[in-house]
């Protein structure tokens, strides 16, 4: 149904009824406009999951600001402005997330039963060994003592001869270096 249809109630009439508290009209309105919202969101966003997120955020916003619709005016520009805003929010959120995080789809493939993860655990151990092999000796030593052997900084300092401050710096640099390596592997 489009807003200009004469055989059925227009979107504007349904929304006006919803403003008066008519739940049935409100449901019909939301169902009718959802494909329109989805189509608008797809113009800006390509990932289907994100499109559906935007549609849902838009529906929530429509609910929050439904009192601002002025009966008699076209509904489409009102809805389009909301979709546009929520799409921009989603894109910003997505760019913030991708700037901070590395997405590793295989990381999700684990099971509740530990024994079921044996193969993945073996591969992870090999991968970790490979990454640690590429670290400078002092960074590797710092990481082994503090993260794998789980020694305290003081104990690791006594065993390695590195100062506590030096251990902290080397662990930080090692993790940063490994994170970059993981990112390279995923995107190559």
């Amino acid at each position: 149904m489009a807003s200009g249809d004469t055989n059925e109630e227009s979107w504007g009439d349904l929304l006006a009824a919803a403003q008066r508290g008519d739940g049935v009209a409100y449901r019909r309105f939301l169902i009718a406009v959802t494909p329109f919202l989805r189509a608008l969101a797809r113009r800006r966003i390509h990932a289907d999951e994100v499109v559906e997120d935007v549609v849902q955020e838009t529906l929530l916003t429509v609910h929050r600001v439904r009192h601002t619709y002025e009966h008699g005016r076209a509904v489409e520009p009102w809805l389009a402005a909301i979709v546009s805003r929520r799409s921009i929010d989603a894109l910003r959120k997505s760019s913030r997330t991708s700037a901070r995080e590395v997405h590793n789809p295989l990381a999700y493939e684990t099971f509740a039963e530990p024994s079921a993860n044996t193969i993945e655990a073996g591969e992870s151990a090999k991968e970790l060994a490979r990454l640690m092999g590429g670290l400078p000796p002092r960074q590797k030593e710092a990481l082994e003592l503090t993260k794998l052997k789980e020694l305290s900084l003081e104990e690791a300092s006594a065993e390695s001869g590195q100062s506590v401050a030096s251990l902290k710096v080397n662990v930080h640099r090692a993790i940063k270096r490994m994170r970059i390596e993981i990112g390279k592997d995923l995107f190559e």
């Binding site: 008066r20 739940g23 939301l30 999951e49 559906e52 009102w78 805003r85």
Partner: protein, 218 residues
């Protein structure tokens, strides 16, 4: 998120449908807000001490003072009206430009006044004068006028609060500068004008900074 979840959300929202009070048209709401601000300004002009500075400036032959006043008022009124429009989803972005011609006229007339003052008084036209008092007045008056205006604007829960905050900030700063003329018994110098412009910029910056807590966007 899936389409099934969207359907469930629609069910939940329609089940929560309760009557809402529809907002009046943006113009009607802007007129109501401006009437409130005018009342506050009028009370301040009547109660606070001043020596009829408009007459003092007019007696000096500075007729552009009236034009300055009218342009400042027009810029403030148009910015407030525009803020109420852009707070509603789907309204034209052209409203963002509506106060600009009046703003240009106001700054133009003020600059002309400064130029005449400089030609008449020589280098004293570059002095700072009472600028810091003017700065404090514009900031303080904007705060007094800004809170009730922000409250009215927040009723629309604007989905994009930044343009609303910028226009609202410009509106109250211009109206504060308009009210300032009733306590301003001297012509402005270029430095005074620069301080006025900086004060307006500070108000717009503060309004932008506080847009989320003040406007409670959706």
């Amino acid at each position: 998120m899936t389409a099934q979840q969207t359907d469930a959300l629609i069910d939940a929202l329609s089940a929560a449908a309760s009557p809402v009070k529809r907002l009046a048209s943006p113009l009607a709401r802007a007129v109501a807000a401006l009437a409130g601000l005018a009342t506050v300004g009028l009370i301040a002009i009547l109660l606070l001490p001043n020596d009829n500075p408009l007459a003092m400036r007019g007696a000096g032959g500075e007729m552009q003072a009236g034009l300055e006043l009218a342009a400042a008022l027009l810029a403030g009124v148009l910015a407030v009206v525009a803020a109420f429009h852009v707070a509603i989803p789907g309204r034209s972005r052209g409203w963002l430009a509506v106060p600009l011609p009046a703003l240009a006229l106001w700054l133009g007339f003020s600059g002309l006044g400064c130029w005449r003052d400089l030609a008449r008084n020589g280098p004293s036209g570059w002095e700072l004068g009472h600028s810091m008092d003017c700065f404090a007045f514009i900031i303080a008056a904007s705060l007094v006028l800004g809170f009730p205006l922000a409250w009215r604007l927040s009723r629309a829960a604007p989905i994009d609060p930044l343009p609303v905050a910028v226009l609202g900030g410009l509106g109250i700063a211009a109206l504060s500068a308009f009210f300032l003329q009733f306590f301003h018994p001297f012509a402005v110098t270029f430095l005074d004008l620069a301080v006025h412009v900086i004060a307006i910029g500070v108000v717009i910056f503060l309004a932008s900074l506080l847009r989320r807590p003040m406007l409670r966007p959706a």
